[in-house]
């Protein structure tokens, strides 16, 4: 079982990231769970969402305390939240940041980091600084949970014929531009 914790700010679409990932995994015949941090969410405040993916039925309903992977949608969270809290040994932090992967790794002491400047990608491809689908590209690059194509249908379904292809392009570009260290 792979456990993922997504850090974002209210309104950035962290819950949507979780939902898309779980739906894509389920469409591939896997088992998955996605859920928000169950609170009255406030725009801009730090929020978390959780995902579990497994090849067998998931029989656990607690929050994710020891993630294999942490996904960070917003680099400004790094100064105020310990995003690596509880990270499993050998776990990865997948982060949206303009800083280089090696810089982030030494600065924060993370075991492994996968970095992409998702904000730039999102601004160029979508015209808005919403990085939720973009960062899923980085997540798939850093892990082998699902093939890239697995997200195609759910992204199209979620965003429709106009925004779907743009989101998929941002997602694919982030996949290609992600650097791991």
């Amino acid at each position: 079982m792979i456990e993922i914790r997504i850090h974002g700010r209210g309104g950035q679409g962290g819950v949507t990231s979780a939902e898309l990932l779980a739906r894509a995994a389920i469409a591939q015949g896997k088992y998955a769970q996605a859920f928000p941090s169950f609170g009255p969410e406030r725009r801009g405040a730090p929020v978390v969402a959780f995902v579990r993916v497994d090849d067998k039925p998931i029989r656990i309903r607690e929050r994710v305390y020891s993630p294999n992977v942490v996904l960070v949608l917003d680099p400004t969270l790094l100064d105020i939240v310990n995003v690596a809290e509880g990270l499993k040994e050998g776990g990865k932090v997948v982060v949206n940041s303009p800083e280089k992967a090696e810089t982030l790794k030494s600065k924060h002491g993370w075991p492994t980091v996968a970095q992409v400047d998702a904000q730039t990608v999102a601004l160029e491809e979508l015209g808005v600084a919403i990085t939720n689908t973009t960062m899923l590209g980085a997540l798939l690059k850093a892990t082998d949970i699902l093939p890239l194509s697995a997200l195609h249908e759910v992204i199209d379904d979620r965003f429709g014929p106009k925004l779907g292809p743009k989101n998929y392009k941002a997602f694919e570009r982030a996949y290609n531009e992600t650097v791991e260290n």
């Binding site: 739906r23 389920i26 469409a27 998955a32 769970q33 996605a34 169950f38 029989r59 656990i60 607690e62």
Partner: protein
């Protein structure tokens, strides 16, 4: 054979209600139930569901309108939670007393104060005596399946009672997970259209719920009692029929872990799954652990529960509600009544846990197991995980 999709559990419940071809949805939004009736209002607005959606100004009105619609012979659905359920309270007794079938989802949520939108069973435990059939779902698939079964049970001519399907708020209602949505034709074959025995009809006037003078009230309540108790074999039969039609089996009481184990957890609702994982780990560590999950809560399945606990020496009963000043939590209280005076009755250790959305983890279930085995627990119950500054 249905379609397997990743879906929020609230929306899976809405799908079930749509597949059941309800005639009337009468509801007022309240977290964490809102997504269900919101989705149903979309189905009604788009014409996907040919039903009357009655948006009311309170839960008291939601239940009152549901009662009126049921009396007119409609297949009726509503959903609520927490304070919303509490506001329905007085009407709930009238619905069962008048023998009106309907189905309600309760997305279980703590009661105020302090204000909590999060999950526990405080809301439904305050409604134990309303004379409705009450069942608990453990996961999203079960939430959908039991909703379909609920209509068939409630409308059965041997039953004619309203039924509540409990789904844990947020921990179930807001989780996206795999759910198989049955085909409409499959559901139509399982659940035929509702045919009321009596309904409000100007051509054939009848009176529902007239005054019950002292000479008849006790007899009327006796009839209700017999109807509720008599619903048990019908629940069993409908669940078995569902299993045969859809290949998903549900029993009134379920067992897992080591059968015949000396120490059993007793759970109700979605905590059951986390507990199962803890029991699996305990068994792998060589511990004598098992679990009994109560699915049907009203009528209480006495024989099935006793059979499932045969040979157990200790029951670790998890209650997700506090009854302040009571001898113990509501589920433990039920079980103590059941076992009192029976030879070989197990020791009942009552843990009140998971109030107001507090997580209960696999690790904590294992801690409870160790504590139960240590003999260090005294008193009728313990409140789990209370921070020292609060005690």
């Amino acid at each position: 054979m249905g379609k397997r999709v990743g879906l929020e559990v609230s929306l899976a419940v809405a799908e079930a209600v749509k597949l059941a071809n309800v005639d009337v949805v009468s509801a007022y939004p309240i977290t964490p139930q809102t997504h269900i009736v919101e989705e149903l209002s979309v189905y009604v607005a788009s014409g996907e569901l040919d039903a009357e959606f009655i948006p009311v100004e309170s839960e008291h009105s939601a239940m009152s309108a549901a009662l009126g619609a049921a009396a007119a012979g409609a297949r009726v659905y509503t959903a609520t939670a927490s304070q919303g359920l509490a506001l329905m309270h007085e009407i709930l007794f009238i619905v069962s007393g008048m023998r009106m079938p309907m189905v309600m989802t309760v997305a279980n949520r703590a009661l105020s104060a302090p204000i909590s939108i999060w999950n526990d069973h405080g809301d439904i435990m305050a409604e134990r005596d309303i004379g409705w059939i009450q069942i608990f779902a453990e996961n999203g698939q079960e939430a959908l399946d039991l909703t379909l079964c609920a209509f068939k049970i409630a409308e059965d001519k041997r039953v004619l009672l309203p039924m509540i399907v409990n789904i844990d708020g947020f921990t179930l209602s807001h989780v996206i997970e795999p759910v198989i949505i049955p085909d409409h034709a499959e559901v139509d074959a399982f659940l035929p259209p509702y045919q009321p025995v009596l309904k409000l009809d100007t051509q054939n006037p009848v009176t529902f719920g007239p005054v019950g003078v002292p000479e008849v009230y006790t007899e009327a309540r006796k009839q209700l009692e017999q109807a509720v108790i008599g619903a048990k074999p019908v629940v069993d039969e409908v669940l078995a029929g569902f299993g045969a039609a859809f290949d998903r089996q549900y029993k009134l009481v379920e067992q897992n872990g080591k059968i015949g184990a000396k120490t059993l957890f007793v759970t109700m609702g979605s905590l059951g799954e986390t507990c199962m994982t803890a029991v699996d780990e305990l068994m792998a560590e060589g511990q004598d652990a098992g679990q009994t999950r109560i699915r049907l809560w009203r009528p209480f399945p006495e024989e099935e529960f006793l059979a499932a606990c045969a040979g157990a020496e200790k029951l670790v009963v998890i209650d997700r509600a506090l009854s302040p000043g009571a001898v113990c939590g509501p589920v433990a209280s039920e079980l103590k009544s059941l076992f009192y005076g029976r030879p070989g009755a197990p020791e009942i250790i009552n843990v009140i846990a998971g109030l107001g959305g507090r997580d209960v983890t696999v690790r904590e279930f294992k801690e409870m197991f160790a504590l139960a085995g240590s003999g260090k627990l005294s008193g009728n119950y313990m409140m789990w995980g209370v921070e020292s500054h609060a005690s």
